[in-house]
Symmetry: C2
Subunit: 239 residues, 2 copies
Amino acid sequence: MFRAMNRDVAPAETGAAVIARQLASAILRGEYPPESILPGEIELATKFSASRTSVREALKSLSAKGLIQSRKKAGTSVRPRADWQMLDRDLLALRLEIGPEHSFATDLLALRQAIEPAAAAAAAQHQDKAAIAVIAAAFAEMEAATHDRTRFVDPDLRFHKAILAASGNEFMMAFGAMIEAGLAAFITISLRHSGAPAPSVPLHHNILKAIEAADPEAARTAMETLLSRTKSNISQDHA
Amino acid sequence: MFRAMNRDVAPAETGAAVIARQLASAILRGEYPPESILPGEIELATKFSASRTSVREALKSLSAKGLIQSRKKAGTSVRPRADWQMLDRDLLALRLEIGPEHSFATDLLALRQAIEPAAAAAAAQHQDKAAIAVIAAAFAEMEAATHDRTRFVDPDLRFHKAILAASGNEFMMAFGAMIEAGLAAFITISLRHSGAPAPSVPLHHNILKAIEAADPEAARTAMETLLSRTKSNISQDHA
DNA sequence: TTTGCTTTTATGTCAGACATAAAGCATTAT
DNA sequence: ATAATGCTTTATGTCTGACATAAAAGCAAA
């Protein structure tokens, strides 16, 4: 019946996407600083051995992410950093690639410490049973994969995303990519030390229990505790 | 010398941008629900009386904002809501247009209550003198415009953005558009009641003083107090 | 029913042309 | 000398038509 079940796979990267990523990378690296003017579209097309059409589509992407702004005759300029949508999935991935990793991890963690306790408290308050069931399901998978570091990552991420969804706040959901990037950075850093993975299952359990018990303050505290643990794991990297 | 000092003005909206906004609006309104397939590019071009080129550039923008995803032969589909970059400036503006206003305002305020106290604490901690001077400058303008509601908005926004910048966290800066939208929604709502504007100048002053005094916890508390005040102003709208 | 081939189709890319607005320059007027 | 005016240039914006490509859908054989 369903020969191809790949409805969810990402499409292969095509020309315009490659150009977009290279230009975005150059901008993030500071090769084209804010207020500066990019090369003209024809020049870029030559540089990337592509048509002007593809270059323009790439520029449209960057424009949508707040990196650049085009004006007739004046050319395409890099916008101030404050306008960059740094929480965008693609930009986060680029930023991690470029480094430095440590400030990336600590800055993202600081954001997580601001957002996730509030989301957990909201989830405990909001009591969306279906959404809470998703959290519980993710937790069950985490328990099952306690000793397998690789298999643990995926349900861990789903656990945190499910809490955002359960918050009932339509904007909280937008932080999924941020958490994903934060986890990725954390893994990168902690793998360097090959230290034993912290036993975070009980900490996650406390969060789930507090949300199920409709106890916002307990949920907030439990999430704060988990993230503090993560933070100390990162900090020892810098030392 | 400088006949045209309009380096900072937004370019006039052109065809592709209009198409992008109309499609994004339709998606946000649920006219094209997640997982559904948009009309083909040629059909869209006919519908908007534009060329396929313009339609494609519009779709590229939406794709960059996480709203859609294109696959060869299969068409362009709407992505799940969790992938939407709802903190994007344009999407926030659309969301406010579409309504409902009240949940927009309360959800955004909940986010502000998570982010801004943390940003204020980080700013007090980080002690970037130049950035703190920007906060102080914005505050001075707020004081000068206390009695003029219209003139007050601009320095108020700059005050909050300057705190994000002073946090020293490269990702905190990305919330400028969110705060802007939150303020705009708050103004929309509070204007309906034409109630006397709350005297928030002293509350802002407390935040500034705490940051200058390098007292993170005081800064956090002062920001929390200000936002609680805002919250009660919004709540009375719903009642 | 499954497997493998073929056709169809919607997106992806290209090339060339023209439209448009605004920056830059030269000219003129004050 | 400075400021207003108009012309020219130029880079982005749009349009058209064509071809490339990958993958879904359909067909046929095993």
